[in-house]
Every structure is written in structure tokens, then in C-alpha cells.
């Protein structure tokens, strides 16, 4: 059996993630999630405060200025994937090449 290369696994995985965030997300359930549902039923949803970032250009997984829901949500999802990939790769790259801490001295 020929082994699938790491590059292929990463590429396919990334394309699947893009497809999920960019296309499939349009068909996701719009019902309140478990916590919001419970908060509504038990009467503490009123305590919710609007987030300070709720007026941002991608707030609520919608791209500001795009009327088409499919495009607006899809673009927000794709941009989110790129930002998460960039941030996590950078963080982990820095971690990977971080110097070993000095072994001297107790912890």
C-alpha cells in the first residue's frame, strides 16, 4: 500500500475545512445552541451583554456589506479559517523553535 504523503493529508484536510466553513456552514442549524436554549428557558438569557466586538466587520459570521447570506457567511468562514491557520501556525512555530529552559535550579 502506498503511503499518502503528509502534504496530501494537510492539503485535503485544509480543503475540507474551507468547504465546511465556506459552503456547508450555510446549511447549519440556526436554532439556539444548548446553552442559549437553557438560558432562555430558565430565564437568565436577559443577563447577556452585547460583546464589544459585535460591530466588527465579521461579527456573527457575517461579512459586513455583503447582502447575499451565502456569500456573506461563506466569506466570513473562509477568512476565519485563514486567520486561525495563520495564528496557530505562527504560535506553534515559535513554540517549536523556542530554546529549552535552563535545567539548573528547582521548579
Amino acid at each position: 500500500m502506498r503511503a499518502v504523503s503528509t502534504r496530501t493529508v494537510l492539503l485535503i484536510g485544509f480543503l475540507v475545512a474551507l468547504a465546511l466553513a465556506g459552503v456547508v456552514s450555510f446549511y447549519a442549524s440556526a436554532s439556539p445552541d444548548g446553552l442559549n436554549r437553557v438560558a432562555g428557558e430558565l430565564g437568565f438569557s436577559g443577563a447577556q451583554q452585547s460583546s464589544g466586538t459585535s460591530r466588527g466587520p465579521l461579527a456573527g459570521y457575517e461579512t459586513v456589506g455583503l447582502g447575499n447570506a451565502r456569500l456573506s457567511g461563506g466569506l466570513a468562514g473562509v477568512l476565519g479559517c485563514l486567520v486561525v491557520l495563520g495564528c496557530s501556525s505562527l504560535l506553534l512555530l515559535l513554540r517549536r523553535h523556542a530554546p529549552e529552559p535552563a535545567r539548573t535550579g528547582g521548579e
Binding site: T6, S25, L58
Partner: protein, 228 residues
């Protein structure tokens, strides 16, 4: 289960932020050991995949939805320390860019959907691995069980935090029953997705899966015995 701003009072939010910061500090140290040539490339993809999958709310009973949390999945694929870092990146981006989960609640969300799901998911996964045969076919079921338990305990942890600092008084037994009830259903979805993803990667490249290493190592040992 992104907690918005306002559900928990300031002292509780400060405490969860401190707990989150401490755990991230530990993860930063621990991840250095996990991030070898096999884990490192996969880690960024895992964070991206968790972000994408968290956009996909699936319906559960009675007009309610849920989505993958992904902590158990990340822990099995890239290890618990790296997994927590992946989850933290996802939660920070969601909070700042998408207004999904509050800003003062960011520490709370890292505790609930990062620390609890990663630690519980990893612990259950390792526990199952200890008792079942060391076969590759057992990796995905063990991960799925870890995923299920992690979601249920995450919802129970929310109730514990609400008991400490919930802004609006609610009967806690009612809250616990409601949260565990709905998150048992969401946990089944979490288990199914985790099973599917882990089984897919194990099928093509088991050596890339952190949680499959012990099993792969055992297999190699057996091969050598036969060959000699």
C-alpha cells in the same frame, strides 16, 4: 456553548481568566515536547478544522442545536498541550473577530471549551486505551468516548461556575439537569464527528495521530519479532 458577556459576574470571570492563563502557560511549556516533525504540521490544520466545524450547528431535540467543541479531537490528534493551544487560538479568534463568545467571558470559554474538554477528553481516551487491546481500530472509538464525556463534563463545569458567579439566581439542580440533558445529545454528535475524523486520519496515516503512537509502536515491535 460559547458563554456571552454578562452571564457570570466579574470576580468569577477574573478567576477563570487567571485559570486559563495558567493553563496556557503550562501548555506552552508542554507543547515544546509534543511538537516534533509529525505533530507540528498537523497542529495548524487541527485548529483550522475545529474552527470550521464549530460553525456547523447540528440540530438536537426540540429546536436546539449544538456544535463540535473539539477539545478531545485536538488532544487525540496532536496531544493535550498542543491541543489546548489550538483550542485557545480558535476561541480568541471567535471572540475578537466574530463576536462569538464574550470578551470578559474569554477566560471562561477557554476553561470550558479548552481546558475541560482537552483534559477530560485526553484522560478518558488514555483510560480507554489502557483497557482495550492495543489496536489501531480502537483509537477512534476511544477518542469518541473521550469526546462524549468531555462535552457532558464541560456543561457540568458551566453549572459549577454559574453556582459561583451566576448573575441571575437560578435553581442549580434545574440548571444542572437542563445543561446535562441537552449536552448529552450534543455529546453524541461530538462523539460521531470525532470518531469520523480520527478514523479517517488513522486509516491513511496512523503515524500522524499523536494518540495512535503507542499502538503504532507496539505494531512495529511485533513486526520485528516475526522478522527475526
Amino acid at each position: 456553548m460559547h458563554v456571552p458577556d454578562g452571564f457570570l459576574d466579574a470576580p468569577t470571570s477574573v478567576a477563570t481568566a487567571a485559570a486559563a492563563a495558567a493553563a496556557i502557560g503550562i501548555a506552552l511549556r508542554g507543547a515544546r515536547r509534543e511538537l516534533d516533525d509529525r505533530v507540528a504540521p498537523l497542529a495548524g490544520l487541527v485548529a483550522t478544522f475545529v474552527f470550521a466545524t464549530q460553525m456547523l450547528n447540528f440540530p438536537v431535540a426540540g429546536g436546539t442545536s449544538g456544535h463540535l467543541m473539539g477539545g478531545a479531537l485536538a488532544a487525540v490528534l496532536v496531544g493535550p498541550y498542543t491541543g489546548l493551544l489550538c483550542m485557545t487560538v480558535v476561541l480568541v479568534v471567535q471572540s475578537l473577530l466574530f463576536a462569538d463568545g464574550g470578551i470578559t467571558a474569554l477566560g471562561t470559554n477557554v476553561v470550558l471549551m479548552g481546558i475541560v474538554t482537552v483534559v477530560v477528553g485526553h484522560a478518558v481516551f488514555r483510560g480507554v486505551q489502557l483497557v482495550v487491546p492495543k489496536r489501531l481500530s480502537m483509537v477512534a472509538p476511544a477518542a469518541a468516548l473521550g469526546a462524549f464525556v468531555s462535552v457532558v463534563l464541560s456543561s457540568a463545569t458551566f453549572v459549577a461556575l454559574y453556582a459561583l458567579g451566576g448573575v441571575i439566581p437560578i435553581p442549580l439542580d434545574t440548571l444542572l439537569t437542563a445543561m446535562i440533558g441537552v449536552h448529552t445529545l450534543i455529546g453524541l454528535g461530538e462523539a460521531a464527528i470525532t470518531f469520523l475524523v480520527v478514523a479517517s486520519i488513522v486509516a491513511v496515516r496512523p503515524d500522524l495521530v499523536y494518540g495512535a503512537r503507542r499502538v503504532v509502536a507496539v505494531r512495529e515491535l511485533e513486526t520485528r519479532l516475526v522478522a527475526s
